[in-house]
């Protein structure tokens, strides 16, 4: 039953959920960032270079990549958050493109468009580590590729669950209420004594951190990255996870990433029409349900049907 194909899809879903969260967090203070593909590439390249060229362990690479994305998020966030709405969206889109062009042209470091191959693979490294200690995947009745896929899936699942738990608590806290106040009306929030600039930079850089983290994971799951992985299309895809699934509740981007990663796989048979359907979904959603598939009333109703009392995360 452990089919690497399904586990592969599941792993990409989990990475996409983290990406969806990254944009959701920025959106929670009403900021739209189209630069998350750029932050993702910063995380991916940092971790890839540190592990391939410096020989650092993977964990250190991933942490360094996330941290660098976070720091650059703060640097970019401070000046650009004076901007609002579509201005911020386009400025961050510009940021993402500049980062990509930089990676293309900085050949001595990044090998340009050729990309970085042979990045330590999350699952294969785990397997090799275990084999050194005398374990083998056969002991669990698994083939090597099954073990590799399963390991990646379990690690990513654990990370995603932790992240979701952390953020659902964060959004239920005083900080989360401050985010929502800013999103609803920035001036009113400021008048009530909420330090809006601080919270806006916080959400922006947290979004950058998560995107960088997801990027680093992506690098170690595919084993190869090139600037072409972090184009405008990727930024739009990340945005769509949140906007389609629901940009007002934490489960929105989770659902969006899940659905939009599974759907193209299910539609493989009719792959020629896949993007037609994708585009149509976007338009239809916006026309009939602009807040996304999931919103608070729907979640409440779902909880009610299950008989459990809704928590007051709202």
């Amino acid at each position: 039953m452990i089919n690497p194909y399904y586990l592969q899809i599941a792993s990409f879903i989990l990475i996409n959920i983290i990406l969806g969260l990254s944009i959701y967090i920025t959106l929670s203070t009403g900021q739209l960032s189209l630069g998350n593909a750029g932050f993702m590439s910063i995380g991916a390249y940092t971790s890839a270079l540190l592990t391939v060229k410096v020989g650092l362990p993977m964990v250190a690479g991933i942490l360094a990549g996330s941290l660098l994305a976070f720091l650059i998020g703060i640097l970019i966030g401070i000046p650009t958050l004076r901007l609002q709405g579509v201005y911020l969206a386009i400025a961050t889109l510009g940021f993402g493109e500049v980062v990509r062009v930089l990676f293309i042209n900085w050949e001595s470091l990044t090998s340009g468009a050729v990309g970085i191959a042979g990045i330590p693979h999350l699952g294969r490294t785990m397997l090799a580590g275990l084999q050194e200690r005398g374990f083998s995947s056969e002991q669990w009745g698994l083939k090597n590729n099954e073990f590799i896929s399963l390991t990646i899936f379990i690690i990513l699942l654990a990370i995603t669950v932790l992240l979701l738990a952390f953020f659902s608590r964060l959004f239920a806290s005083r900080v989360g209420r401050a985010f929502r106040a800013i999103r609803l009306d920035e001036k009113a929030a400021e008048a009530m004594g909420i330090h809006t600039t601080y919270y806006k930079i916080l959400t922006f850089s947290m979004g950058a951190l998560l995107a960088g983290f997801a990027g680093a994971l992506f690098a170690h799951v595919t084993g190869y990255i090139s600037p072409a992985d972090f184009t405008y299309h990727r930024a739009v895809e990340i945005l769509v996870f949140a906007v389609f699934g629901g940009s007002e509740v934490l489960w929105g981007p989770v659902f969006g990433a899940l659905f939009l990663t599974v759907m193209p796989e299910m539609l493989r048979g009719m792959s020629e029409y896949r993007y037609f359907i994708y585009g149509t979904i976007l338009v239809v959603m916006m026309v009939f349900r602009p807040q996304g598939v999931l919103d608070q009333p729907l979640l409440d109703r779902l909880r009610g049907r299950r008989g459990g009392g809704g928590d007051d995360a709202a």
């Binding site: 089919n3 592969q8 340009g112 468009a113 590729n145 590799i148 084993g223 072409a228 493989r268």
Partner: protein
């Protein structure tokens, strides 16, 4: 489940009995599922179209001959690594294919190759020309001529013929294919001691190459070395000729397609390319293929179609040798392929499962690809 295996058991016993009863030539065909990862949607769909056409045609011919029975399972990658990887996992684990053809791009192969290799599934690129592909592992093959073989061939011939002393270079810097082609080009130029007047870059989807070309024109090179895919290359040629850059253009394998002539018309004259594929070759096998392809798909086959066509034939050859749809036997049989005679000419794998063949150097003259000498 048990019923099915019983059925197979009976069937295979029956097959054994039959195989002994009937002369070998009429043995039941060796059946195998071959997975294909190609670009059906998105930016590179033009390549995917030619490639899958080539596969389908080879499949129909092979199956008609009756020695093998190949079922093609075609999956889309959209040119993206993750989708290619998911497609590979599907083919390897759900569909249980014996071998994989594709994916289309070298970037995709760098992600898919290690996975197929780790799973012990032979995989063969038919259009992956970047460096370091078959070095991924012993299950990774290719029959596409790498740029590191193609470009020195065309450069050397052009330099000798036109007495080239100085060159301007132009290449796409945001694409793996054109970038590694450029690296080979630069090396070839240095090896021959040519003076490089300027190196210009362009990016994907750029409509306007006039700025770069104006600059190149001002440096008055003897020739222009251009590493581009034919889609862009044709447009560059047409803009260059319009501006009065009449020097010869030397390109790699990616620049080679009948579409260059369709798009650039007379401007295409004077383009020198090295290629495994020459559609007007005076060879009955090539002629038959071109004729049949043109009839089926309404256009001349380009190298992507031809390489795909030969690749499946090579797979078929290996399948016959392996005698059964077994991944390891397929790998060994593939690795042993030498001097296969296809529409691309004589083809062998070297010890590293990479390509051994003599590229044709062609020039476009009077609106036609012709042998350059």
């Amino acid at each position: 489940m048990r019923k099915i295996s019983k059925f197979f058991l009976t069937a295979s016993i029956l097959a054994l009995v039959l195989a002994q009863a009937i002369p070998a030539a009429q043995a039941a065909p060796v059946a195998a599922k071959i997975g294909v990862i190609s670009i059906i949607t998105g930016a590179g769909a033009a390549y995917g179209e030619a490639i899958t056409n080539g596969f389908k045609m080879a499949r129909d011919e092979l199956n008609a001959k009756g020695e093998v029975k190949i079922e093609l399972l075609i999956e889309d990658s959209s040119g993206k690594q993750e989708q290619a990887l998911a497609a590979a996992q599907k083919l390897i684990n759900s569909q249980q294919v014996t071998a994989i053809l594709g994916p289309t791009l070298s970037t995709e192969m760098k992600v898919v190759g290690p996975e197929a290799n780790a799973s012990g599934v032979p995989i063969m690129g038919t259009s992956t020309t970047a460096a370091g592909i078959t070095q991924i592992g012993k299950y990774v093959f290719r029959n596409s001529l790498p740029e590191s073989l193609a470009i020195p061939a065309s450069v050397k011939k052009a330099v000798a013929k036109y007495n080239i002393k100085s060159v301007a270079m132009l290449y796409g810097n945001d694409d793996v294919f054109t970038k590694s082609g450029f690296d080979s080009m630069k090396k070839a130029a240095t090896d021959l001691g040519l003076k490089v007047t300027t190196i210009e870059e362009f990016q994907k989807g750029q409509a306007d190459y006039k700025a770069q070309l104006t600059k190149i024109k001002a440096t008055k090179p003897d020739a222009v070395f251009c590493s581009a895919l034919y889609e862009e290359g044709a447009v560059i040629l047409s803009q260059a000729r319009k501006m009065g850059i009449n020097q010869p253009f030397v390109g790699g394998n990616g620049f080679n397609s009948p579409k260059v002539i369709d798009i650039a018309k007379e401007a295409a004259n004077g383009l020198v390319v090295a290629t495994p594929w020459f559609a007007d070759k005076n060879d009955p096998q090539v002629k038959a293929f071109v004729q049949k392809y043109e009839k089926a798909y309404g256009k001349k086959p380009d190298q992507f179609a031809a390489q795909a066509y030969d690749a499946l034939y090579i797979m078929g050859e290996a399948l016959k040798k392996a005698g059964q749809a077994d991944r390891n036997k397929m790998r060994d049989a593939l690795a042993g392929i030498r001097n296969y005679n296809g529409v691309l000419g004589k083809f062998s794998f070297d010890a590293e499962r990479d390509v051994v063949m003599d590229p044709n150097v062609l020039i476009i003259k009077d609106g036609k690809f012709q042998i350059f000498n």
